[in-house]
């Protein structure tokens, strides 16, 4: 049995063994250059494959590097056969490096000529991001223009946002019933812009609450949000002339763990039985737990979030929901600050640009696909490349 196996193996491996008899031929060409448009500490290498690679004579390539002179090479990395390029990110800026690639096979190894000297350096501008820069500039320009217009006193039209009237109504009802208002500014930290939007809506709700002398409960999941919420509410109470009604205890930190926070809020809801619940900010899975618990005590619920995953649950379980961008719009709208409204108008410019370019791209793609015309294909490709992320 053993003999049969070994005979078969020898027969099978004989042709291959012949190919392995000689060491692999060296990679014929190697190029090394500073990685363009980067922050330095990086060199791009590329090489042509060893002629022995196709016949299986190469199993791996070893990239080697020398400092200052093309002597004393040290291995940097070992790469599998088939590799053609490597980016060495373990170099220092301003140092001269030489590189060579060693092809290693079953029958030995051989080295390419050395490439270099090459020096890594930092660049002052990344032209690959120039389209991003242009689009950013256009958006910043658009938003700033309308903010400027607004600050000069030009009245800007902003349509009514459906959920906003509901806020007034809900606070009103809580007052009539003598029950508290619950406000949750999302469960994310201050590094989430939705939290900022939620807090500016809180500022508005707090003014209503102060005016009606209703009770307000704001449990938070983040201590930073608690700090900011206190500042916001204090200012709102001051604005409507009721600083006497404010006290720190209405805003409190619970815990950073999402579901422990939810457990506590659920407890608050069933024990305090708020007549109005507001959920404004970033929410995750807890959206439905909160909304169903709020519903079970008969509260009017108004939600607003830019978390697409949770919108369906709020839309289904709450009385009113601010969808996505409406959350940001509502925070600007409620502030009644002309500059904020101006920036809202600037956002519309962004949407118009998006829609315009999508339609242009679609038209060109369609025309190109219908006619097969080379110029149209190029035009379509060019328009699409304006929005490329990774050139």
């Amino acid at each position: 049995m053993l003999r049969v196996v070994s005979t078969v193996l020898i027969v099978l491996l004989a042709p291959a063994a012949q190919a392995f008899a000689d060491p692999p031929s060296p990679p014929p060409e190697i190029r090394a250059a500073d990685t363009p448009h980067d922050r330095g500490r990086s060199v791009d290498l590329s090489w042509s494959p060893s002629a022995s690679e196709e016949s299986g004579g190469v199993t791996r390539y070893v990239v080697q590097r020398a400092v200052d002179r093309p002597e004393e090479f040290h291995a940097v990395v070992t790469l599998p056969a088939g590799s053609r390029a490597y980016t060495d990110t373990s170099v220092r800026d301003g140092v001269s490096y030489f590189y060579r690639v060693r092809a290693v096979g079953p029958a030995g190894e051989s080295e390419s000529a050395s490439a270099g000297p090459v020096r890594a350096s930092q660049q002052w501008f990344n032209p690959r991001k120039s389209n991003l820069l242009v689009i950013a500039a256009v958006l910043i320009g658009g938003i700033s223009w309308f903010i400027f217009q607004a600050s000069k006193g030009r009245r800007l039209y902003i349509r009514k946002i459906a959920g906003i009237e509901a806020i007034d109504e809900a606070v009103g009802r809580a007052t009539e019933m003598g029950k508290p208002v619950l406000f949750i500014p999302g469960i994310e930290d201050m590094d989430n812009v939705q939290t900022v939007a939620g807090l500016s809506i809180l500022g508005n709700v707090a003014q209503l609450v102060a005016r009606y002398e209703t009770r307000l409960e704001v449990p938070t999941r983040r201590s930073l949000v608690m700090s900011v919420a206190r500042e916001t509410i204090k200012e709102a109470y001051l604005k409507v002339g009721r600083p006497d009604l404010y006290n720190d205890a209405m805003v409190y930190y619970i815990t950073d763990e999402q579901f422990a926070f939810v457990a506590a809020v659920d407890g608050i809801v069933v024990r305090e039985k708020p007549a109005a619940c507001f959920y404004m900010g970033a929410f995750f899975a807890e959206s439905l737990i909160l909304a169903e618990t709020g519903n079970s005590v008969g509260a009017i619920q108004v939600a607003g979030t830019a978390m697409p995953t949770q919108l369906p649950f709020f839309v289904a379980a709450c009385d009113y929901t601010l969808i996505g961008e409406e959350l940001f719009a509502a925070s600007a709208y409620l502030s009644n600050d002309q500059k904020m409204l101006g920036s809202l108008k600037g956002q519309d410019v962004g949407k118009a640009i998006a829609a315009g370019f999508i339609l242009l791209g679609v038209a060109l793609q369609t025309a190109a696909s219908a006619s097969g015309n080379g110029a149209l294909v190029n035009a379509a490709r060019w328009v699409s490349s304006l929005f490329r992320i990774n050139p």
């Binding site: 990110t89 373990s90 590094d191 989430n192 970033a282 995750f284 899975a285 697409p308 995953t309 992320i389």
Partner: protein, 291 residues
């Protein structure tokens, strides 16, 4: 009280009870089901299948115990696949709770099926770092800015497979197993897009929908929920039949299906009640007008 009134005012605790029974009963009987991988899952499997030996895979554990039923089977299937193919596995976590999940995976995969793979050469556990997307941004620039040691406190310079890793750009694939923020989206925004590194995800069903718009250009592929996990397991078992008994997701699809049908029935009854009620009101209004 008529049936309609009773249905309208049904105590929600009865619905809760039905749901519990709908899951518990099929869980006891365990029916077997067949699952076929969909393209969005196959793309992840095929990518790992096609990478040359020694390629570097970064796996981020961005979930906690609460989504273990969905996320852990995905993480295990990926880890098995990666180690089986002799690729290098780098484990990190952007969630406080993720590190413990990685430890559990080490127990159930590395210490049971792959005892011959060496820590520090075939796989490494770097642990949790705070900072959410900031953490991704930081290791995208330079890995050692944050990860000076692995999870056990060993200096990374003493770990062989960390020697040729300077930044995230050195990775051949990022697989993020996630259930929220930060998650796949942040890995795309802070690593995949700026560095042109392929990003694949394994997420809860909730998150999956949110990520469809990134697929296929910015996101290589995606396992969505238990179904996605079951599909990946099915692909893995088709290629490596020895993993049949490890397929946790495939085994609990039965209760899933029953619960789905139960919810469909709830929606149907809810609507039937609503329409019956509306008809009654309409009839009442007409009658009132006549008198």
């Amino acid at each position: 009280m008529s049936l309609l009134d009773r249905m309208k005012r049904i105590d929600r605790r009865i619905l809760f009870l039905l749901m519990a029974a709908g899951v518990a009963i099929p869980l006891l009987f365990r029916p077997t089901l067949t699952v076929h991988p969909s393209p969005i899952v196959s793309r992840v499997f095929d990518k790992i299948e096609s990478l040359p030996e020694g390629s570097k895979i970064l796996m981020s554990f961005d979930y906690g115990p609460s989504t273990v039923p969905e996320n852990q089977p995905m993480a295990e299937a990926i880890a098995r696949h990666v180690l089986r193919r002799r690729l290098k596995l780098y484990m990190v976590s952007a969630w406080t709770t993720g590190q413990a999940q990685a430890d559990l995976l080490i127990e159930s995969v590395m210490r049971t099926d792959f005892t011959d793979r060496v820590y520090g050469e075939d796989w490494v556990h770097l642990g949790y770092k705070a900072g959410n997307q900031g953490m991704i941004n930081a290791i995208f620039g330079a890995m050692r800015n944050l990860y000076t040691t692995d999870a056990a406190g060993t200096n990374v310079d003493a770990i062989p497979m960390m020697r040729d890793v300077q930044s995230l750009r050195d990775m051949d694939l990022i697989v993020d197993i996630a259930s929220g923020f930060p998650g796949v989206k942040e890995w795309i925004q802070f690593a995949g897009d700026p560095g042109n590194i392929p990003v694949a995800g394994g997420v809860t069903a909730v998150e999956a929908l949110l990520l469809y718009p990134y697929y296929p250009r910015q996101l290589l592929g995606l396992m969505g929920g238990l179904q996605g996990a079951a599909e990946y397991e099915a692909a893995l078992v088709a290629k490596y039949p020895e993993y049949r008994d490890d397929s946790k997701a495939l085994q609990i699809m039965g209760p899933q299906y029953v619960a789905h049908l139960l919810i469909v029935v709830f929606i149907l009854i809810g609507n039937a009640t609503y329409f019956a009620e509306r008809r009654r009101q309409k009839r009442g209004r007409i009658a009132g007008g006549r008198s």
